[in-house]
């Protein structure tokens, strides 16, 4: 899948390295490096996934259909789209969800984090550190870690299935709450399932800490949600390691989106400052103090400080977040009222002409939605900013930093390191391309 324009050797003055189809990422992307006279002149993550026009096709659709439709932006993290949608809808229509319904939303999000992070850790990312082509190849020498990961993934999916009917594109989320609440017996069985894999989560975290991680750090500006007393899923203010602190409604005051000709996804940058990073490294660095003490200790034991600037070590941070999500899921399940089902599954949401914003923490970083509604609750305009398009500029800067010291090496070595550096960020390319304002250059 790699093509090189010239002899491919390190002696060539001018060469370009292309990876036409990146593997072990979600969606379709390619990598282009241009090297001229021993200098790296371009490093591009080229996203060629065909656009699907979600922001256009949402126009005229009812607020009641929105979470079902936005889920289809991405099969890997549908809950993030459903959650950002319902929060934006409720924001527009002046509804705030508290109590058990809010707790259940956190629980659903725990399921998605566990499922998505476990998938990334054992099936997509760990093979990079082990020199293997895929997670299945781990069965021989790293079978325990693989089985831990798959068991966790299954447990995360079980949360999605119990709360939402199925793992991918669950059907239960609606504005105001859920279509149906999980029954007592279902909740009890779920708690048992998660309790049974909790030790595996701790063990997997310790295992990720043993992986040989390159010494590499970058001075990222981290951006994530921050909540007064929780590790963030659905709510909070947007803050950054550079001092940003703003209401989610004010996203445009600090961020701008722009087109890059080589990509069907929009890029984003901090106004006046440039690239920034969202995702587990950012959440962790900005919210370490919101993790329970025992999990903070586990993180230290795994060699993490309160901030981690090594993207290769994001695998450890993801594993720590799985531990958190398991513990949080158990806490939520234990605290739900016994007579949960006797309460209303949702609070009524009365549409009105209004604008609403929602922002939640997808496994790969925050996902920001803004809708303008007509009086009858149909969408006039929609804007969706998913995590991977926000990280694109940072991924390209990582590529430069990784490739530059390797320029005198052969193409294959450079390619392998660059692909790895992209995978560090678990990019979800399907997510990042569902925009309207994109241009595909035609020669």
């Amino acid at each position: 899948m790699t093509t090189s324009d010239d002899d491919g050797g390190s002696g060539a003055a001018r060469r370009s390295i292309r990876v036409d189809a990146l593997t072990r990422v979600e969606g379709e992307g390619a990598l282009d490096l241009e090297i001229d006279g021993g200098r790296l002149t371009a490093a591009r993550l080229r996203i060629y996934e065909p656009p699907r026009f979600f922001e256009a096709l949402l126009r005229g659709r009812s607020h009641l259909e929105t979470p079902d439709i936005t889920a289809r932006i991405c099969g890997i993290c549908p809950v993030a789209y459903q959650m950002s949608s319902v929060h934006a809808i409720e924001d527009a229509f002046g509804v705030r969800i508290g109590g058990p319904l809010r707790a259940l939303r956190r629980l659903l999000y725990c399921g998605e984090w566990i499922e998505s992070h476990a998938l990334h850790i054992v099936l997509l990312h760990a093979p990079d550190f082990l020199g293997l082509p895929d997670g299945i190849a781990m069965a021989r020498d790293h079978g325990d870690a693989l089985r831990d990961g798959l068991a966790l993934k299954k447990a995360g999916n079980e949360i999605l299935r119990v709360l939402g009917g199925r793992e991918i594109h669950p059907v239960s989320v609606r504005p105001g709450g859920f279509h149906r609440l999980p029954r007592r017996a279902e909740r009890a069985a779920l708690a048992e399932t998660i309790a049974a894999v909790r030790d595996r989560a701790w063990r997997l975290a310790r295992w990720t800490a043993t992986l040989p991680v390159p010494e590499f750090e970058r001075p990222y500006e981290f951006v994530a949600l921050r909540h007064p007393d929780e590790y963030p899923f659905n709510e909070g203010r947007l803050i950054s390691s550079g001092g940003l602190d703003l209401d989610i409604a004010d996203f445009d005051a600090a961020f701008e989106e722009f087109q890059a000709p080589h990509s069907t996804a929009l890029h984003a940058r901090l106004r006046g400052r440039g690239a920034y990073l969202v995702g587990p490294l950012a959440r962790y660095a900005l919210n370490f103090d919101r993790l329970p003490g025992a999990i903070q200790n586990l993180a230290r034991e795994c060699g993490l400080g309160t901030v981690c600037r090594n993207p290769f070590r994001s695998i450890v941070v993801r594993a720590i977040e799985i531990v958190y999500a398991c513990e949080e899921a158990l806490r939520i399940l234990a605290a739900l009222p016994d007579d949960l089902e006797s309460g209303a599954a949702f609070v009524p949401v009365a549409p009105r002409a209004a604008v609403g914003t929602g922002c939640t923490e997808a496994p790969r970083g925050f996902c920001w939605h803004r809708y303008e509604f007509a009086e009858d609750g149909s969408i006039l305009t929609a804007r969706i900013v998913p995590p991977t398009s926000q990280n694109q500029a940072t991924i390209e800067e990582d590529l430069r930093a990784v490739a530059e010291p390797l320029l005198d090496r052969d193409d294959e070595t450079i390619r392998i390191h660059c692909e790895r550096s992209i995978r560090n960020h678990d990019p979800c390319i399907s997510c990042s391309t569902h925009f309207l304002r994109l241009a595909v250059r035609r020669s």
Binding site: L57, C74, R437, A439, V440
Partner: protein
């Protein structure tokens, strides 16, 4: 070893959910990887083996000229080609563009629509190449996916029913929500999900697409009685399989 059937997984315009369904088979994944040779599955492995392939699973719909050419190559390299999911079998949610004037549509929302390299339509795989089997759903049901692979390994047709979600709904002993006045697309929708939505006290929104020979007018007449406006009926039919002929034709009948 080399006698194992060679499996390839391909992606076109889609959300990745259907191919992810394969990885959601946590318990069966390792057995699966032994039973078949995963020759190409970009989302899961860096191994990329050249064709021909015994079985190709194709996710996504055709929305660009480039993809219209690419699917011909996939077909040429595949002995059995299976379209998986609503995108691949009916165009998916992105086929909503088929109902509008794509130029006006693009001009309304793109700063530089002249640069667009996209087709005016999103079409199913079968509109471009012969397809051997289709698995419905948005996403496909993972049990059906496993049944498909087991059947292919055994050299038999997969057991996939052509009846409606209502049958599964009865089997699951759900209380029918349609008789309580909630519009439900179940009577016209292809089985396969196990009637998830009625079990969650909501109407089916048709993500498995039309069943064989649905009675659309009878269904929408009932929806009208339940108080749905023509606009709402049209929207309900234009979801994840909007371009499936039966749903598309019925939605055209309710233009207000």
């Amino acid at each position: 070893m080399s006698t194992r059937p060679r499996l390839a997984v391909w992606k076109f315009a889609s959300c990745d959910g259907c191919q992810l369904s394969l990885l959601e088979c946590e318990d069966e994944l390792l057995a699966l990887a032994q039973a078949v040779e995963i020759a190409r599955f970009a989302e899961a492995t860096s191994t990329v083996l050249p064709g021909p392939y015994d079985v190709s699973l194709v996710e996504g719909s055709i929305t660009t000229e480039h993809d219209a050419r690419r699917i011909l190559e996939v077909r040429a390299q595949s002995r059995v080609l299976v379209a998986i999911g609503a995108c691949a079998t009916a165009g998916g949610i992105q086929a909503l563009r088929n109902f509008g004037d794509v130029n006006a549509f693009a001009a309304a929302v793109y700063p530089s629509p002249q640069f667009l390299a996209t087709l005016a339509t999103a079409t199913p795989i079968s509109a471009h190449v012969p397809v051997d089997l289709e698995l419905r759903g948005c996403p496909v049901d993972k049990e059906q996916l496993l049944e498909l692979i087991a059947a292919l390994l055994a050299g038999r047709r997969p057991a996939v029913a052509g009846y409606s979600v209502c049958i599964e709904c009865k089997r699951r002993a759900n209380v029918c929500i349609a008789v309580q006045g909630t519009p439900c697309l179940g009577p016209a929708t292809h089985a396969g999900c196990g009637a998830i939505c009625p079990a969650f006290r909501r109407g089916c929104y048709g993500c498995f697409g039309p069943m064989e020979t649905p009675n659309m007018p009878a269904l929408t007449a009932q929806w009208q009685q339940a108080g749905m406006t023509p606009g709402a009926i049209r929207q309900a039919l234009r979801m994840f399989t909007a371009a499936a002929p039966e749903f598309a034709a019925e939605s055209e009948r309710h233009d207000d």
